[in-house]
Chain length 362, copies 2
Amino acid sequence: MSARILATYRIACAANEIEARARALAAEQSVEMPIEAIRDPRVLGEIVATVESVRPSGNAFEVILGLAAETTGGEAAQLVNMLFGNCSLQPEVELLDADFPPGFASAFPGPAHGIAGLRERVGATSRALTGTALKPQGSTVEHLAKLAGTFARAGIDVIKDDHGLADQAFSPFAERVPAVQRAIDAANGETGGRTIYAPTFSGGPGALATQAAIARDCGVGVALVAPMLVGLPVFVEMRRTSGLALLAHPAFAGASRVAPALLLGRLFRLFGADATIFPNHGGRFGYTRQACLAIAAAARDPWEGLEPVLPVPAGGMSVERVDEMISDYGTDTMLLIGGALLAAGDDLLGLSREFVRRVRNT
Amino acid sequence: MSARILATYRIACAANEIEARARALAAEQSVEMPIEAIRDPRVLGEIVATVESVRPSGNAFEVILGLAAETTGGEAAQLVNMLFGNCSLQPEVELLDADFPPGFASAFPGPAHGIAGLRERVGATSRALTGTALKPQGSTVEHLAKLAGTFARAGIDVIKDDHGLADQAFSPFAERVPAVQRAIDAANGETGGRTIYAPTFSGGPGALATQAAIARDCGVGVALVAPMLVGLPVFVEMRRTSGLALLAHPAFAGASRVAPALLLGRLFRLFGADATIFPNHGGRFGYTRQACLAIAAAARDPWEGLEPVLPVPAGGMSVERVDEMISDYGTDTMLLIGGALLAAGDDLLGLSREFVRRVRNT
């Protein structure tokens, strides 16, 4: 028997159909043809996915399939294809989890920097990190650079672009990124701080390479990237070739068909994220506290030789929730507060300092 | 007022919350911050998304937002980010449709070949096209090449790789693709036919470039690509640089959160697909007939200067359904039958010929 990935699916169907439905899913996610028409014993024994278990779960069923690890070719797009390619088109099927066989992760890069690398960049040995975002899109480069300077003077560790800032005419990457980095450098020079900048990387491989060159030229060391928008294998290639730390953004990652802990936690980690942003419970998104803690666990729990990834709860957070969030997630975490700081208006510097103070004191 | 994309969402919420929920979605999909904290009149007037209409629809609401076209930067990943980036994480929101302002499409490549280009390659002026797939993964290169020779001798127009064939050790791209193309060339030589091959392209940008070079070297002119797996902007870059016709596969395209006609029809067309495969109703997937016809319409209906895209209904089809499918979709269509041909076993050539005969006679 070849090494198997144990993939757990939730299937909604009638009890008298589940055995056949599970076998059909096993065919769908491996050979995608009638099993009885396969004559090659190696394909039957080592390639066709196996139904490992079926058990009722609420008003549906949890089915564990054994997917042959060799069908993934050790490559990100093909791994996701085998886990959830065709069955993503079947609304009654969700992907809940995946356990990989020993050694499987070694084909993938994993985080280059991880929590330790990000801590070193900002000079924070044990406390939680602070993060914020440059918004809104449509602003001039001058406005965004001024915001960045204010945030940096307040001592925020990581200033990221809003994920909606890409390469639009109102603030082109080639103008925005050097200007923002200069503003942060100037503030760091004033305060002795070590604030870092994570601009949004977006577009096709050619555009991403151009953006990486611009970033390196002006001393940017971190990229904000939405793996589901640029493509998972592109994210892996950025990890392998760019030298940048990667802050993964969940845009276009869907809500309910792939479990967030698997996608934003385990898979983004496998593919090379150093930090993973996710919508915290109690904000603008519907994730439960349990789902959020599961993301953080998938990001940080021991996993062969892979560096732990920094969890970044976000999405409508406020300074008032700092204590609660650190209590939930511990200090190996970055708290990301965007809009709630900007809502302070003329007191942006004051509220940003209060955010930093609270996190440092917790 | 800048040009607006009219994006239609389905929002499930209580009637007394929908106005606020619609405004919140408008903020989420544009500036992602509290509107009242924005002072720049240009951002308020031209960047913040507008709520164009709200109307009840069943037990939910259809909300049309006006998204500023300039926020997309004329780029695929950022377009999808603005349409459905963050709100993909909100389970109560679905994306139903998008209408683009005049001229918007010109920033995107659209199909290079379209239906006319594919017809020319296979020498079919007006009839429907036939397609099939090489399966199962795990087979040897010799087996796949032999299958391809049989299908080509039967006169099938397009032989694609199973979407699960990538670059695995059991049939590496660099060995499989030349061998399959040789088998098809040999069969075409015998029959005078013009069968073409569409191997699966998969992996990161570097791997895709290598695969394109291998394909060109052995005379392959079509690539099977899953845009959601390789990444939408990568698909655009393949369209712009590879010279290959692109047969889009729906793997990982999700089931219920973005309307299939928008994603598999309109967006894949905008980004450069020449043909789009989708799961036909009555097969292994749950799409309705209406949803399938909407995909075909989005693929083919007049749209500024964009070439029409060949709709490819698939996913558990059989030779018995040829007449019905052509009646549904017309002849500007490719019928794709995979597993049902392979199930013929020793009569693979006979059933494949019957498939070709039926399509030519309809």
